[in-house]
Assembly symmetry: C2
Homo-oligomer: 198 residues x 2
């Protein structure tokens, strides 16, 4: 059986990554969406193992020491991370894995697993990203400007990514992602193994 591959998805705030990822998961039911671990307490309605793996700070530190995270970070006093074990289990089952993480996390995963495919979901233009952030109507202009600035800084890092997917329409972005995932299974090592099995 073919082994699964890991696909890392990053993108600036406001680009519409959540919608694209939801559509991608709907169109490919075998895809495993990695659930993060966190030390923050569950909110109402959040289910352990579905929204997050909820860990105590002690447990989280144990996992860090045991190299159980592909990446992790601390935000406002809480830890967030990608547990290695669920990703590896899914790949061993032949399922592709989607990591929807921050760009700093992507760098950590890339250092540990250079074979993981890095994809940046980009806006059609910076002006369009600004329009989308303003259109959400949830933040004042100062906050929006700071998000845009952060997006531009991330963009400089993302230049080294394997692929850029432009989210001008969700259909185009999803079709691009499906093509990328399909083509990455056409790499010589995987296919030569397939030929030799027969």
């Amino acid at each position: 059986m073919r082994k699964g591959k890991t696909f890392i998805i990053c993108g600036p705030s406001g680009v519409g990554k959540g919608t694209v990822v939801a559509r991608l998961l709907a169109s490919n039911p075998t895809l495993y969406f990695s659930v993060s671990a966190t030390t923050r307490p569950p909110r109402a309605g959040e289910v352990d193992g579905v929204h997050y793996h909820f860990l105590t700070k002690e447990k989280f530190r144990e996992w860090i020491d045991a190299d159980e995270f592909l990446e992790y970070a601390q935000f406002v006093g809480n830890f967030y991370g990608t547990p290695r074990r669920y990703v590896d289990r899914a790949m061993d089952q032949g399922r592709d894995v989607l990591l929807d993480i921050e760009i700093q996390g992507a760098e950590q995963v890339h250092a540990k697993r250079p074979e993981a495919v890095r994809i940046y979901v980009a806006p059609p233009s910076w002006a369009e990203l600004e329009r989308r952030l303003i259109g959400r109507g949830t933040e004042d202009m100062e906050k929006i400007r700071s998000r845009l600035e952060r997006g531009r800084q991330e963009f400089a890092v993302a230049k080294d990514f394997d692929y850029f997917v432009i989210n001008d329409t969700v259909n185009r972005a999803v079709d691009d992602l499906l093509a990328i995932m399909r083509s990455e299974h056409c790499r010589p090592d995987e296919r030569i193994a397939e030929i030799n099995r027969h």
Copy 2:
């Protein structure tokens, strides 16, 4: 406008590459199929510029000296080559280009244009390739064995190719090729240029 990309297709004799390429061209009418130049005389029904660009030996040598070939070789006294000019014109028009060439030619193009994407069309297994060659019923066993041996030698070179497409069914092979061509247009350089144009 986006620029076209060059895709090199190689594969062993008997793998069914011709059928796959025909289906690929039918499903993507903007794709430009590179027409080779040759010094051999046209056969009945062959049209200049369609089946081959027919050149005199003198002209062919002039083009070699002017670096007008992406690759060329000599077989039984005649020259065959891929003219650079038609490939470049198609790419400038935004069309992707398909080069259906021998593996030695692929190596020459790769040396000149490392950005050209190299795809190897492989059989599901060596046993299956042998069955297909025998099934054609056009050659004796000695010739078939020599084709298989050559296929295995090429295979060692093809390990360095970007992609392997297994032709177990034509549908799967064509869908893999379409995915590869689509995903190769999601490389950061091309997409960053697109974002900056807006």
